[in-house]
């Protein structure tokens, strides 16, 4: 937009503004090349020079005869001058300015400033903010419960074929949570089994009870760590995936497209996802149990004077099918929790690009928190019921 690019290269003299005062009229002489790439004068600082030698100012005029090339920097300077004139109620005579400059100044004032005062809310007192936070938490809890209710209803109606679920979506989730998740589950479960066995060997050896490391691995993997570790992995993997997927659909109005077609996004998108992870979690838990026990056995056999057969015999004399079933039950619960938190956060996504990231993050945080909570509750109930 520089008026003459050729001159810009040839001679560049920085933009200068000088004020001359004569009988109530302030004349601003503009000269040189005004460019936003170089420092240009500010109206206030030009005004401050020799301010005392002037009398009352009635009008501001310009002399642009020695003005070179110009761009937005000149417009900014003139806007500053205009703001000053408006504040001091001085007349600003723009007639001597180049025609294009005048037109741009007019254009920039063509649309009146939007009244921004309505946006600014007074800062509420602490008690009001506390109340606001409590109310918003409560409404969050309510919407979560509503969402859980919608899902339950949809699932309950599934056998009666009132709900049209997309089975394709279900199988995609099943696939991504079986073959897709196996490598990471294998790695983590194996290492957790190894860690439990090390712990058992190191601690129990002190009492000469190293043999009982097999009990620890068996109980530890089947009742607790198998389901818990799988749940945490899946919350990070699948839960975040659900949130990001549904979040992007929300942003591109795909969810709205379902709603306006009269298709419930819960039935169509949420139920297949939750059912998929709900059915896969117990299977993955069993697999993790198996791999974890293998890892633990490898450590115990290599560190203790123990054969694999003795290790398994010792373990099977202690753990029962109930222990494994408790783990599987936890897997079911965790699956529901992961699916629920992922889909909930996905559907609650805001509308900017960062919102998808935030949705995925909060889905993982919520998922893991709920998993640990549910684990504690189940363990407590199991202890009460002596399972």
């Amino acid at each position: 937009m520089r008026t003459a690019p050729a001159e810009r290269i040839a001679t560049v003299t920085a933009g200068v503004a000088e004020l001359r005062y004569q009988e109530g009229v302030l004349l601003a002489a503009l000269s040189g090349d005004w460019s936003i790439e170089q420092p240009t004068p500010r109206f206030e600082s030009v005004l401050a020079q020799d301010a005392n030698s002037r009398g009352t100012v009635r009008a501001l005029t310009f002399d642009a005869t020695r003005l070179g090339s110009w761009d937005s920097s000149l417009l900014v300077f003139l806007e500053q001058a205009q703001a000053y004139c408006e504040a001091q109620r001085i007349e600003m005579d723009r007639s001597a300015l180049p025609e294009q400059v005048t037109r741009l100044l007019t254009l920039s004032r063509a649309v009146p400033e939007r009244d921004a005062s309505e946006d600014q809310q007074a800062k509420a007192p602490a008690i009001a903010r506390l109340g606001g936070a409590a109310l918003s938490t409560w409404s969050n809890v309510k919407s979560s419960i509503t969402f859980a209710g919608e899902i339950t209803l949809a699932v309950a109606q599934l056998p009666r074929r009132k709900v049209r679920m997309r089975w394709r979506e279900f199988w995609v989730v099943v696939q991504s949570n079986s073959s897709g998740a196996i490598p990471i589950v294998t790695l983590i479960a194996l290492l957790v089994g190894v860690i439990i066995a090390f712990l058992g060997v190191v601690v129990l050896e002190r009492f000469g009870a190293g043999y009982y490391a097999s009990y620890l691995v068996g109980f530890g993997m089947l009742r607790e760590m198998g389901a818990l570790m799988t749940g945490i992995i899946m919350a990070g993997r699948t839960g975040a995936g659900f949130a990001a997927e549904l979040g992007s659909m929300k942003i591109t109005e795909e969810i709205d497209a379902f709603v306006t077609l009269g298709i419930s996004p819960v039935e169509h998108l949420v139920v297949p996802r939750i059912l998929g992870i709900f059915f896969m979690m117990p299977l993955l838990t069993l697999y993790a149990d198996f791999v974890g026990v293998l890892g633990g056995m490898a450590v115990a056999v290599s560190l203790l004077d123990l054969s694999a057969k003795q290790f398994l015999g010792g373990m099977l004399s202690a753990v029962t099918l109930i222990d494994a079933l408790l783990g599987v039950f936890k897997g079911l619960v965790f699956g529901a929790v992961i699916g629920f938190s992922g889909c909930l956060k996905g559907l609650q996504t805001g509308s900017d690009a960062g919102a998808v990231g935030r949705a995925a993050t909060s889905a993982v945080v919520l998922g893991i928190t709920l998993i640990i909570l549910a684990n504690a509750v189940i363990d407590w109930l199991a202890a009460l019921l002596k399972i």
Partner: protein, 255 residues
């Protein structure tokens, strides 16, 4: 030769390809300083692809594109940046950064490319937003304003650095007639006031007749340009049936 006499952009024997698929062949034209140059053609004719070539996002399969007489696709990094800095681009969907407010969106190029202090940047930004009629919306996020306003905000970002050449990709698509016409006014005003060279990709006829000094027609079946000139003159003396159909919005050929 004096730089001012050179065309702003010169395209020589350009071939555009996606992989092996040839989109357009044999494009030869120049865009003069201070004109509004429209690239027109049907959907899928490669208008936006041509724009991507002109702004250096896609390298030519064959041929050269000269910006100020220089081929900047083969230029070194610093020179390339200097050339890019003199261009402004308005993308089809605005492409405002959704995580930033309008002020931040317009400030970013100024912060990156100029040495202005924060206060001056703020003043330049509010001037640019005022020019596009968005005074008072400085602290809004793109998601909170309407589609027409987003386009105008994106235009403010495109003119943030006072570019010599402004590229607009389908500026009026998705806008209501009033917003589209306001945007056309703004384009004409920017050309007249700043003397900016403006390259517009569009198939909006009303807009073409309103703003274009010259227009280039890309023919999808011929795979090359079949018309170049003032749109009204092209309409009155169409060089081909396709151009006639396009400019008169008819499905029938020349009678």
């Amino acid at each position: 030769m004096n730089a001012a006499e050179l065309p702003a952009i010169e395209v020589r024997n350009l071939t555009m390809q996606y992989g092996d698929l040839v989109i357009m062949n044999d494009l030869n034209f120049s865009i003069e300083r201070g004109e509004v140059f429209v690239i027109m053609g049907g959907s899928g004719s490669g208008k936006s692809t041509l724009l991507k070539h002109l702004i250096g996002l896609k390298p030519p399969a064959q041929g050269t594109i000269l910006f100020d007489g220089e081929d900047f696709t083969t230029a070194d990094e610093t020179h390339r940046k200097d050339v890019l800095r003199r261009m402004g681009v308005l993308y089809q969907n605005g492409a405002l950064w959704s995580g930033l407010t309008l002020t931040e969106n317009v400030s970013l190029p100024l912060e990156e490319f100029t040495t202005l202090d924060a206060r001056s940047i703020a003043e330049v930004v509010s001037l640019k937003l005022a020019l596009v009629g968005l005074r008072g919306f400085e602290e809004f996020y793109p998601a909170a304003i309407s589609g027409g306003m987003r386009k105008r905000a994106a235009l403010a970002r495109a003119i943030a650095l006072d570019p010599e050449v402004l590229f607009l990709d389908e500026p009026s698509s998705g806008l209501d007639p009033i917003s589209a016409s306001r945007l056309d006014d703004l384009i004409v005003e920017i050309k007249a006031s700043f003397g900016t060279t403006i390259v517009v990709v569009t198939h909006d006829l009303e807009s073409i007749f309103r703003i274009a000094d010259r227009a280039l027609f890309l023919d999808i079946t011929e795979k090359t340009m079949t018309a170049l000139g003032n749109p009204a003159e092209l309409r009155d003396n169409p060089p081909s049936e396709e151009v006639h159909r396009f400019l008169t919005r008819s499905s029938e050929g020349l009678s």
